[in-house]
């Protein structure tokens, strides 16, 4: 998984994406903020959404309660 550790928690990259997604943002905005290639952001977003740490609405990604708890 690009952004999820074997224990199911976000890894370092996952945490960075979650921090960025505290405000709704597009994959492009996340890639720009974190200075990452799009493909890594897309793969990471998919992992984080599947694991319930992020949700997507109309092309923007936003952290979930589970995501906020993971950052505590």
């Amino acid at each position: 998984m690009a952004c999820i550790s074997p224990d199911g928690k976000p890894n370092l990259l996952g945490e960075k994406i979650l921090e960025t997604a505290k405000e709704p943002c597009t994959p492009e905005e996340i890639a720009s903020t974190l200075i990452l290639p799009f493909f890594r952001v897309r793969g990471g977003l998919r992992d984080l959404v599947e694991a319930g740490y992020l949700k997507e609405e109309r092309g923007k990604y936003m952290i979930t309660d589970k995501g906020l708890q993971a950052l505590e």
Binding site: A2, C3, R40, G43
Partner: protein
């Protein structure tokens, strides 16, 4: 152009067609081909980790990585090895050769992607992928394929030249002659009608005849 996979026949990709989608485990996590949309992608295979020619190629690809990035091109390698083998090998390359491998490498243990793209040449090896290069454009169209045998390392200048030629073709609607390099004259596509052929010689191009005209690009 068909490949047998698990009892079913699959058609190998061809130039000008959509590159087949896949999802694969890589050294940078699970990735789909479609994650690369919007960028050019060089998908390349190598026979095996911890082998000398492949090591020189990985160093070569890493050396042109920044030049590829400047051209909006991503790189992704592949071999029929585990992700742990890949991780160990790229760490070894960094330790022994001082070269960090910045691109993901697919661990294609079940040969799924290799079979989908026809990377295994049974006449050479039934268990290793040959040195294949697939150039995929930002719309996911397969634009170039290059195959080298197990014994022959690839030429990174040619990889860059192919990218430059394809991007120049797309931007200026021209073709590029043999051994073309950026900055050199390009080929004006031959006129499609007799009338256009007569006009062509009056258009100020460097023409040997109506079908063979070159021009220098402005940039």
């Amino acid at each position: 152009m068909c490949e047998e996979q698990k009892g079913r026949s699959i058609r190998l990709p061809m130039l000008g067609e959509k590159a087949p989608e896949f999802e694969a485990v890589t050294t940078q996590g699970k990735l789909k081909l479609s994650d690369f949309r919007g960028s050019w992608l060089i998908l390349f295979s190598h026979p095996a980790d911890f082998t000398p020619v492949c090591t020189t190629e990985f160093i070569g690809f890493a050396e042109i990585f920044d030049e590829l990035q400047a051209r909006n091109v991503q790189l992704m390698g592949l071999s029929i090895d585990s992700v742990y083998s890949h991780i160990s090998w790229v760490r070894n390359i960094e330790e022994k050769f001082g070269m960090k491998i910045p691109f993901p490498v697919i661990a294609d243990l079940n040969k799924e992607v290799a079979s989908l793209y026809g990377m295994i040449m049974p006449g050479e090896s039934k268990t290793e992928t040959s040195r294949c290069v697939f150039v995929i454009d930002p719309d996911g169209i397969l634009r170039a394929m290059v195959y080298y045998p197990l014994t022959t390392g690839r030429n990174m200048d040619e990889i860059l030249r192919i990218i430059d030629a394809l991007q120049t073709t797309d931007k200026h609607h021209v073709a590029t002659p043999a051994n073309w390099r950026p900055g050199e004259p390009v080929i004006v596509p031959p006129p499609p009608t007799q009338e256009a052929a007569e006009e062509r010689l009056k258009q100020g191009f460097d023409c040997k005849d109506w079908y063979f005209c070159k021009k220098t690009l402005d940039e």
